[in-house]
C-alpha cells in the first residue's frame, strides 16, 4: 500500500522559492507519524526531478520514524544554472514502511519555483537548523522532541504547541470572554503567519 500525501504539511504552499545555480539547498521535513503500527524505515528521492534540479538526495534522521513518533527527513538538492525564472516542479520523496507485513509508502511532494531571490529560510522556521535530539527528550510529551520543536518554531514546554499547529489553550478561570480574546490573538498570529507565506503563494 502506498500513501501519497500531497501538501499535507502545515502552512501549505503552492511553491517554495529557489534560486538558479544554487547549491546546496536543503529541505527539512518534520515527519509526524500518526500511524500507531507503522515504522517508516526508508526514504528515496523520486526519479522524476524537476528539470532545474539535476541532483537531489534524502536521508532519514535518525534512521527511521517509529510508530507514533516524530523524526526528520533531510533533502539536499542543487538548482542548475540553466534554471529560468518561473520554472516550477516538485521534489518527491517516498517514505517506506510496513504495516502487518504490507508495504506502505508515503509520498511527499515539495513544490519549488525558480525565483530571482529566495529567502534563506522558508516554511516553518524556528530557532536554528532542525536537528533531532539524540536523547529523544520531549518535555511536554506532545510527540515532538524538544530540539525539533525549537527548530520548527513551537513551544517544547507546551503540549498544545506542536510544529504546524499553533498553540491554543483554554485557560481555566478566564471564562468565555478571555477565551475569545485569546482566540483573537491566535487568529491574529495566524494572519501574520499567512501573510508571511502569502509571498510564497500559499493557496
Amino acid at each position: 500500500m502506498s500513501v501519497v500525501c500531497a501538501n499535507t504539511y502545515a502552512g501549505a504552499a503552492a511553491a517554495y522559492d529557489v534560486e538558479s545555480d544554487s547549491s546546496p539547498n536543503a529541505i527539512y521535513v518534520l515527519l509526524r507519524n500518526l500511524n500507531p503500527s507503522v515504522d517508516f524505515v526508508s526514504i528515496t528521492v523520486g526519479d522524476e526531478l524537476p528539470a532545474f534540479v539535476p541532483i537531489a538526495s534524502a536521508t532519514l534522521i535518525p534512521a527511521s520514524v517509529a510508530a507514533g513518533e516524530s523524526d526528520l527527513a533531510a533533502i539536499e538538492f542543487d538548482v542548475s544554472a540553466a534554471a529560468t525564472l518561473g520554472q516550477t516542479g516538485d521534489i518527491q520523496v517516498t517514505l517506506g514502511g510496513l504495516q502487518n507485513g504490507n508495504p506502505i509508502d508515503v509520498i511527499l511532494r515539495i513544490p519549488l519555483e525558480v525565483v530571482a531571490s529566495a529567502a534563506a529560510a522558508q516554511g516553518e522556521i524556528g530557532v536554528g537548523v532542525p536537528a533531532p535530539d539524540p536523547g529523544g527528550a520531549d518535555t511536554d510529551g506532545d510527540g515532538v522532541t524538544d530540539a525539533l520543536e525549537v527548530a520548527f518554531g513551537s513551544d517544547p514546554m507546551n503540549a498544545n504547541s506542536v510544529p504546524g499547529k499553533l498553540a491554543f489553550a483554554v485557560v481555566p478561570g478566564l471564562g468565555a470572554v478571555a477565551g475569545i480574546m485569546l482566540l483573537a490573538l491566535v487568529l491574529m498570529s495566524g494572519w501574520v503567519l499567512s501573510q508571511r507565506q502569502h509571498r510564497l503563494g500559499a493557496s
Binding site: V4, T8, N25, E76, A81, P163
Partner: protein, 795 residues
C-alpha cells in the same frame, strides 16, 4: 545538539555536493535556501479482501476468471475484491496509480483492467473490484502475473489529497488438466511444463487413474465410471488434486500457485483429453455437487458422441463370434479377444476390469456410441450457459507405431475371418462409417469430437495432442479469449449438427444403458454383424461349434448384415446365396426376400436378417434346396457363408463352421432304461426307434417311413416287427434332406416259450436276442441298419 553537530549529520550529502562543485571549480551564482515543512503521516487503513470470504484477511491478487455474459457488457462474475477504506470521512475518488506513480481516476484501461462498482447502494468507502475478462488483451500474454495498483484518493482538504493504494496481481485462472482412459497425470507432463514454465499458467493435472495402470484399483486405470470418476475433476478426493484443490492453492499462496500470494479466485479453466473431457462435462453439467467453479472447458479428442471402437470392445466380451474372430491387427495369429488381451497386457488399452466375473471397464461402456450417459449429456440441453467451451479435433487417422503411421483402431480392431479368405469382415461398417482419411484421430471420429461453435481441426492422432506446439498455442489463445462461446451459444449448433450417416450408425451400434448409476451394455446391433448363425431343433453344440447329428433335420442359417437403401421408404428385394466353402464354393440355398428399410434415408445402411435352410444326408454331405456338397469321409466340418450381390461394402460373409457327425442309424431303445433291456410277458416292453430318413419331397406334410426290427442270427436274421408310420415334415423341408423320426411303442415280450418275440408274431427263439433297426427307403437311397442291442426275457 549544536548546529555544528546537525551539520555533521545532515550535511554529508551536501558536503559531497559542495566538494564536487569545488573540484569542478564552479562558484554558484545563486543563494542556497533552507525549507522547513511539517508532514503528518495519516493513519489511513486500506484493506483488500476476497469478496467471497474464501480468503481470510488481505489478499495479494485476483484471477481473471470472469466470463462474458449473454448481453453486451454483461459479465458472469468470478472472483471479486472488496476494497475498504478506513480512517477517513472525506470525499473519495477510486482509481489507480499509473506507471509514473501518479493517481488517476478509474482503472488503467477501463474494462481491460477491471471495473469498480459499489458493493451495495450508498457505499462510500467500499468498492468491489471486478477483474478484466482476460489476463491481458495485448502482447503474447506469457507472463504469470500483471500488477494493477488499485487506489483511492481522499480529498481531505483543498491542500491535502491523500492517495492510498495497493498493488494487486492479476493472474490467469488455474488450469486443471484431465487425462483420458488408460493414463494418469503424466499424460500432461510436457503440456503442463510448457504452460507453467513458458506461458504463465499455473496448471494442475488431475489423476483419476487410481494409481498405476495395472493396480487393479476400482478406478480401472482411468477407466472408471463417469458417475464416480467425475469426483476427481471436482476435487476433494484425498491425496488428489482437482479443481477444488487448485483453487485452494491459489487462495493460500501454495508453492505451485503464486507462491506466498493469496489470490482470490472462484473458477478454474479445464482441459479435458478424450474421456477426461466427458468426465469434466459430467461434473459441470450433471453433477449435483457442481461447485459453479469452472469458467472454460476445452476438449482434446473427446468423444462427445461416443466412439464406435468402444462398441466393438464391448461386443468382443459379450459375443463369442466376435471374440473368436481373427483380429486384423494380428491376423491370423490372434483372435479379437486375444488381441485385446495382448494390448491390455502391454498397457495400451485396458479392456476388462479384472474382476470376477470379468466385465468391460466402465469407461468403455460410457463411451459407446448412443450410450445413455451420452444421451443425458447431449440431450435437449447440453452445456452450461455460464461456461465457455471449445473443441480441438484430431484428423490424423493413423497412430504412429514404432515411428510408422500404422494403427487405426477402426480397421485394426475389426473382427475378420481368415487372412486367406480376403479378410472377410464381421462388421465392415466400422471403417466405412468412421475412419476415412481425415475423418477421425484413429480412435474418435471427428463428428464425435466436434463442438461446432468453436472448434479447430489439427492434423494429429489421438495420442499426439499433448506434445503438439500448435495445440498448445490454440489452447493458450482460447484460455485468454473472451469470445470463446458459452454453452448457450454451442447448444443450438450442437443439436443441429449434421452427423453423416447418422441413421446407419443408429442401425449399427448399441449404446450402454444406465442401471442405477452404472453403465451397462453397449456393443453392436446384432443384425448388423455380417455373419451366418445356425439354429434348428436338432442342432447341438460341440465345444461351441454347432453340430448336426446323424438323424438330420433342417438347419436354419440366419444371414445378417446391412444393405444400403435404394429408394427411401420402399421395400427392396435382397438376394442372398448360402454357400459352402470349397475350392469352388457350392451353392446351398438362394433366398430372395423383400425387406423394408423403415425410415432410413436413401444411401444409408439398414440391418437385415434373412433365413436360408440347409440339411444333410446319410453320407454327411451338406445340402440345401438349391445344391449340395459331398465328401466321402463321413463326418465333416463345413464352412458356410453367404454371398450378396449389389453391395460394394462387402460381397461375402465370413465363413462359419458347422459340424456334421458321421451317420449312424440309432439303435432301438426303451425310454429311461439301459441295455440290456429286460422284457416280460405280453405285451412286454415298449421300444422306440429313432433315425433319419431322406425326404422324398419338399414343402412339409407327412412322409411314410418303413422301419423294421430284426434279430441278428449267424445265418438268417429274424424279422421281429415291421412297421410303416407317418413322419411329420416341417414346411421348410426340401427333397433329399435327412429328416429325423422317432416312432414309439414297438413291443418285444417274453412269449410262452420264454423267448423274445416281436409284436408281429415272430419269435427269436432266444431268451437273449440281439436286435437291430433296419430302415427301408425309396430307391436311390441306402438301407441302413443300426448296431445291435441285447434284449433278455425276464426270469
Amino acid at each position: 545538539m549544536s548546529r555544528q553537530s546537525l551539520t555533521s549529520i545532515v550535511g554529508e550529502a551536501v558536503a559531497a555536493l559542495a566538494l564536487s562543485c569545488l573540484v569542478a571549480g564552479h562558484v554558484h551564482a545563486g543563494a542556497a535556501t533552507r525549507i522547513q515543512v511539517v508532514a503528518s503521516l495519516p493513519n489511513i487503513g486500506f484493506s483488500v479482501e476476497d469478496e467471497s470470504g474464501d480468503i481470510v484477511g488481505e489478499v495479494d491478487g485476483i484471477a481473471t476468471d470472469a466470463l462474458a455474459g449473454t448481453g453486451p457488457g454483461n459479465v458472469i462474475v468470478g472472483a471479486q475484491l472488496h476494497l475498504t477504506l478506513s480512517g477517513s470521512s472525506d470525499d473519495v475518488i477510486w482509481g489507480h496509480i499509473n506507471g509514473a506513480g501518479s493517481f488517476e481516476a478509474g482503472l488503467p484501461v477501463s474494462d481491460a483492467d477491471g471495473t469498480y462498482h459499489k458493493p451495495f447502494p450508498g457505499a462510500k468507502y467500499q468498492e468491489l473490484y471486478t477483474p478484466p475478462l482476460e489476463f491481458d488483451t495485448t502482447g503474447p500474454n506469457t507472463a504469470a502475473d500483471r500488477p494493477v495498483e488499485v487506489a483511492v484518493l481522499i480529498e481531505a482538504a483543498p491542500d491535502c489529497d491523500i492517495v492510498v493504494s495497493k498493488s494487486i496481481d492479476l493472474v490467469k485462472p488455474p488450469v486443471v488438466m484431465v487425462h483420458g482412459i488408460n493414463g494418469n497425470a503424466s499424460t500432461w507432463t510436457a503440456f503442463e511444463a510448457e504452460f507453467r514454465n513458458n506461458r504463465g499458467f499455473k496448471s494442475y493435472a488431475v489423476d483419476h487413474s487410481g494409481g498405476s495402470y495395472n493396480s487393479g484399483a476400482p478406478d480401472y486405470g482411468g477407466n472408471g465410471d463417469i458417475h464416480d470418476s467425475y469426483a476427481y475433476v471436482r476435487g476433494g478426493v484425498p491425496g488428489e488434486v482437482g479443481i477444488a484443490e487448485a483453487l485452494d492453492r491459489f487462495r493460500t499462496g501454495h508453492a505451485t500457485a503464486h507462491a506466498g500470494k493469496k489470490i482470490a479466485v472462484q473458477k478454474a479453466d479445464v482441459l479435458g483429453s478424450s474421456y477426461g473431457g466427458l468426465l469434466s462435462r459430467w461434473y459441470i453439467e450433471q453433477a449435483i455437487d457442481y461447485g459453479d467453479d469452472v469458467r472454460k472447458l476445452i476438449t482434446l479428442g473427446t468423444p462427445h458422441r461416443g466412439s464406435p471402437v468402444t462398441n466393438m470392445n464391448v461386443q468382443t466380451l459379450v459375443d463369442p463370434v466376435i471374440a473368436a474372430a481373427d483380429c486384423q491387427f494380428f491376423s491370423p495369429f490372434l483372435s479379437m479377444e486375444g488381441t485385446l488381451e495382448t494390448i491390455d497386457a502391454f498397457g495400451f488399452i485396458r479392456w476388462k476390469d479384472g474382476e470376477v466375473p470379468e466385465d468391460v471397464v466402465p469407461a468403455l461402456r460410457v463411451m459407446t456410441h448412443e450410450s445413455e450417459v451420452l444421451g443425458v449429456l447431449n440431450g435437449t440441453a447440453p452445456f452450461r450457459d455460464d461456461v465457455a467451451y471449445g473443441s480441438i479435433v484430431g484428423t490424423d487417422n493413423q497412430i504412429n507405431f514404432l515411428l510408422i503411421p500404422l494403427l487405426n483402431l477402426f480397421y485394426d480392431l475389426e473382427p475378420t475371418r481368415g487372412l486367406l479368405t480376403a479378410q472377410k469382415r464381421y462388421f465392415p461398417w466400422m471403417p466405412i462409417l468412421d475412419s476415412g482419411i481425415g475423418d477421425s484421430d484413429a480412435v474418435v471420429p471427428t463428428w464425435s469430437q466436434t463442438l461446432p461453435a468453436r472448434t479447430t481441426n489439427v492434423p494429429f492422432d489421438h495420442l499426439s495432442y499433448h506434445d503438439s506446439t500448435s495445440v498448445q498455442n490454440t489452447v493458450a489463445v482460447w484460455l485468454q479469449d473472451s469470445t470463446l462461446p458459452r454453452g448457450d451459444v454451442h447448444r443450438p449448433a450442437f443439436l443441429a449438427q449434421v452427423i453423416p450417416d447418422a441413421a446407419s450408425r443408429d442401425n449399427a451400434f448399441v449404446g450402454s444403458t444406465l442401471i442405477g448409476n452404472q453403465s451397462v451394455g453397449g456393443g453392436l446391433e446384432h443384425d448388423a454383424i455380417v455373419q451366418v448363425e445356425f439354429s434348428g431343433p436338432t442342432l447341438g453344440s460341440n465345444g461351441g461349434l454347432s453340430q448336426l447329428d446323424s438323424k438330420g433335420g433342417i438347419v436354419t442359417a440366419t444371414m445378417t448384415g446391412m444393405a444400403r437403401v435404394a429408394v427411401a421408404g420402399t421395400a427392396q428385394v435382397e438376394t442372398l446365396t448360402l454357400v459352402e466353402d470349397d475350392l469352388l464354393d457350392s451353392t446351398l440355398d438362394i433366398v430372395s426376400q423383400s425387406i423394408h428399410p423403415g425410415t432410413t434415408p436413401v444411401g444409408q445402411l439398414f440391418p437385415f436378417s434373412i433365413d436360408a435352410v440347409m440339411a444333410r444326408d446319410q453320407s454327411a454331405s451338406i445340402l440345401g434346396p438349391d445344391g449340395s456338397a459331398t465328401n466321402f469321409v463321413g463326418g465333416e466340418v463345413w464352412s458356410v457363408g453367404y454371398e450378396i450381390t449389389g453391395h460394394p461394402d462387402y460381397g461375402q460373409s465370413p465363413w462359419t463352421d458347422i459340424d456334421y457327425t458321421s451317420f449312424a442309424l440309432p439303435t432301438i431303445f426303451v425310454p429311461s432304461e439301459s441295455e440290456p433291456f429286460i422284457v416280460g410277458t405280453s405285451p412286454g416292453s415298449a421300444f422306440t426307434a429313432e433315425g433319419g430318413v431322406h425326404a422324398t419331397s419338399g414343402g412339409g406334410g407327412t412322409q411314410a417311413v418303413n422301419s423294421e426290427l430284426w434279430e441278428d442270427n449267424f445265418f438268417a436274421d429274424t424279422l421281429l416287427e415291421d412297421r410303416t408310420f407317418n413322419v411329420a415334415m416341417p414346411a421348410d423341408t426340401f427333397s433329399g434332406a435327412l429328416m429325423p423320426y422317432a416312432e414309439p411303442n414297438w413291443f418285444l415280450f417274453k412269449n410262452g416259450s420264454g423267448d423274445v418275440q416281436g409284436a408281429s408274431g415272430n419269435s427269436s427263439g432266444e431268451t437273449s436276442a440281439t436286435v437291430y433297426q433296419f430302415l427301408n427307403q425309396t430307391l436311390g437311397y441306402s438301407f441302413p441298419s443300426s448296431s445291435n442291442v441285447t434284449v433278455n426275457v425276464a426270469p
